[in-house]
C-alpha cells in the first residue's frame, strides 16, 4: 500500500466510527432497526491488501463501536469474521480473476458489486445479532433484525458508493 492509501484508510476508519456512534446508532427505526454502515471500511479495503492486517484492523473497528455501544465484543467478532471470509466472498462475487487484477469497487459491474456488498452485510449482521441476542428463544427476532437492518445498511452503503464515486469522463 502507498502512503496515500494508508492515510485514506486511517481517515476512513475514524470517520466511520464517529458517524456510526453519534449519528447512525440513534436512528432506531421502528424501535430496533439500525444501519451499520461502518463496515464500509472492510468493503473498501484494497483487495490486494494484507488480509491478516485487515482482520486485525476490522477487530479494532468493531471493538471501537462496541466500546461506545456497551455491547461487549459482538461488533468485533462480526467484523473479524467478515474480514476473514472476505477473500472467499471476493472470489465468488468477482470470479477467480480477482487475484490477478485489483478490483475497483466503484468501477465494477452492478451485479458483482451488489452480490459482494449484500454477502458481506448480511453475514456481518447475522453474526452480530446472533451474538447480541444470544438465545435460541429469540430466533425470529434474530432473523427479523438481520433482514431489516441488513436491507437498511445495504441501501445506505450502495447509495454512498454511488454518491462518492469520482466521475471519470
Amino acid at each position: 500500500m502507498q502512503t496515500k492509501e494508508i492515510l485514506i484508510n486511517i481517515a476512513r476508519f475514524v470517520l466511520l466510527v464517529f458517524l456510526q456512534v453519534f449519528l447512525l446508532n440513534n436512528i432506531n427505526l421502528g424501535g430496533y432497526i439500525n444501519p451499520y454502515v461502518y463496515i464500509l471500511f472492510i468493503l473498501l479495503y484494497p483487495s490486494d491488501g494484507n488480509t491478516t492486517l485487515l482482520i486485525f484492523l476490522s477487530f479494532l473497528l468493531g471493538l471501537s463501536v462496541d466500546i461506545f455501544e456497551d455491547s461487549g465484543g459482538v461488533h468485533a467478532a462480526a467484523c473479524a469474521f467478515v474480514a476473514y471470509i472476505r477473500p472467499l466472498v471476493l472470489k465468488y462475487s468477482f470470479g477467480t480473476s480477482y487475484e490477478y487484477n485489483t478490483i475497483n469497487l466503484k468501477k465494477s459491474g452492478a451485479t458483482e458489486r451488489i452480490l459482494y456488498v449484500a454477502s458481506i452485510v448480511f453475514l456481518h449482521h447475522f453474526v452480530m445479532f446472533a451474538l447480541e441476542i444470544f438465545s435460541f428463544g429469540h430466533t425470529l427476532l434474530l432473523l427479523k433484525s438481520t433482514l431489516f437492518s441488513g436491507i437498511f445498511t445495504f441501501v445506505l452503503i450502495l447509495g454512498s458508493l454511488i454518491i462518492f464515486t469520482k466521475k471519470t469522463t
Partner: protein
C-alpha cells in the same frame, strides 16, 4: 521445527482470526455477567468523556422539554406538600435519624433502547457517592438499576433488558409479580406471576412492590395495556405501557437505601444459619 513454523505462516490468517474471535466472544460473555469491573464499556474515562462532550452540545436542543418536565414535576410535588401542611407541621430535621431513602440526581449521557440488553450511561460515578445496586427513576417513573460504576461515570441496566427482574404490584389489589421485557417494544414491558385470583382491568396502575432493598414501594411504572393467561396456567401475562418514555431520558434520580446494608446482612446471616 521448521514444519511447525511453516504451518503457522501458512495459516496465519486463520490463527489471527481464531484468536481475535475468541477474545471478542469472551468480551461478550463478560458483559452478560451482572456487575463486575469492565474496561470495555462506555463508563471508562475516554468514552465517558466523549459522550459527556457530545451531551453538552446536544443538551440545548432538549432544554425546552426538560424544563416542561421539571415544571410538571414541581407542580405535583407542590400540590402534595400543600396537603401535608394542613395536617401537621413539617417535622424538624433530625440529625440522628437518617431517612430510609436518600435521593441523588444525574444526567443521562448515553441511552440505548434498540438492543435486547439495554443500558444507559450516567455522568456521575463513585466520586459522587453513587453505588452499585442503586435504583434509578425519572420524574415519570421507573428506569433501572445501577449495574457498573467507575470514578466519574455509572452504567444503568434499564428495565428494557432481558436480564432485568424487578418486583412490581397492582396498585389497587397489592398482588405481586415480576417485571420483565420481551424485547418487542421500548414502551411496553411485561408483568408476570400475577395469580389469576387478582382482578385486572385495562388501565390499572402498576407500581413497584417494595419487596427489595432497591426501590421504595409505590414508584409509578405504567398502566395495564392488555393481559391474557393460558387455560391451564394459574398466572396472568400482562403487557404494561410505561409512563416513562424510555427513548428520551434526560435527567434521572438515584435512590439510596440507607438500611440496605443492614437488611442484606441480616438476610445473609439467616442463609448461613440454614
Amino acid at each position: 521445527m521448521q514444519q511447525i513454523i511453516y504451518f503457522f505462516i501458512r495459516n496465519k490468517n486463520s490463527m489471527v482470526f481464531a484468536v481475535l474471535f475468541i477474545v471478542s466472544i469472551l468480551l461478550t460473555i463478560q458483559t452478560h455477567n451482572y456487575h463486575n469491573d469492565k474496561f470495555i464499556s462506555s463508563a471508562n474515562y475516554v468514552t465517558g468523556g466523549i459522550f459527556k462532550f457530545k451531551n453538552s452540545l446536544t443538551d440545548y436542543i432538549y432544554l425546552g422539554t426538560a424544563n416542561e418536565k421539571l415544571l410538571e414535576e414541581n407542580l405535583i410535588l407542590r400540590k402534595r406538600l400543600e396537603k401535608f401542611r394542613d395536617i401537621a407541621p413539617l417535622p424538624a430535621l433530625d440529625t440522628i435519624a437518617l431517612p430510609k431513602f436518600d435521593y441523588l440526581s444525574a444526567t443521562v449521557i448515553n441511552n440505548n433502547y434498540s438492543k435486547t440488553k439495554n443500558q444507559i450511561t450516567l455522568d456521575k460515578g463513585s466520586a459522587d457517592e453513587l453505588e452499585i445496586d442503586m435504583g434509578v427513576i425519572s420524574s415519570h417513573g421507573l428506569v433501572g438499576i445501577v449495574s457498573d460504576i467507575s470514578k466519574n461515570y455509572a452504567m444503568v441496566q434499564t428495565i428494557l433488558n432481558t436480564r432485568s427482574r424487578i418486583n412490581a404490584k397492582l396498585k389497587k389489589s397489592n398482588h405481586f409479580g415480576t417485571l420483565i421485557w420481551n424485547t418487542k417494544d421500548p414502551n411496553v414491558v411485561q408483568l408476570i406471576d400475577i395469580p389469576r385470583i387478582a382482578k385486572i382491568e385495562k388501565g390499572d396502575t402498576i407500581i413497584t412492590g417494595g419487596r427489595s432493598t432497591i426501590f421504595p414501594e409505590g414508584i409509578l411504572i405504567g398502566v395495564v395495556q392488555d393481559y391474557h393467561s393460558d387455560k391451564d396456567d394459574n398466572y396472568y401475562y400482562i403487557n404494561v405501557k410505561l409512563f416513562n418514555d424510555m427513548t428520551s431520558l434526560q435527567h434521572v434520580y438515584l435512590i439510596k437505601n440507607n438500611e440496605a446494608a443492614e437488611i442484606l446482612q441480616l438476610e445473609k446471616g439467616v442463609d448461613d444459619a440454614d
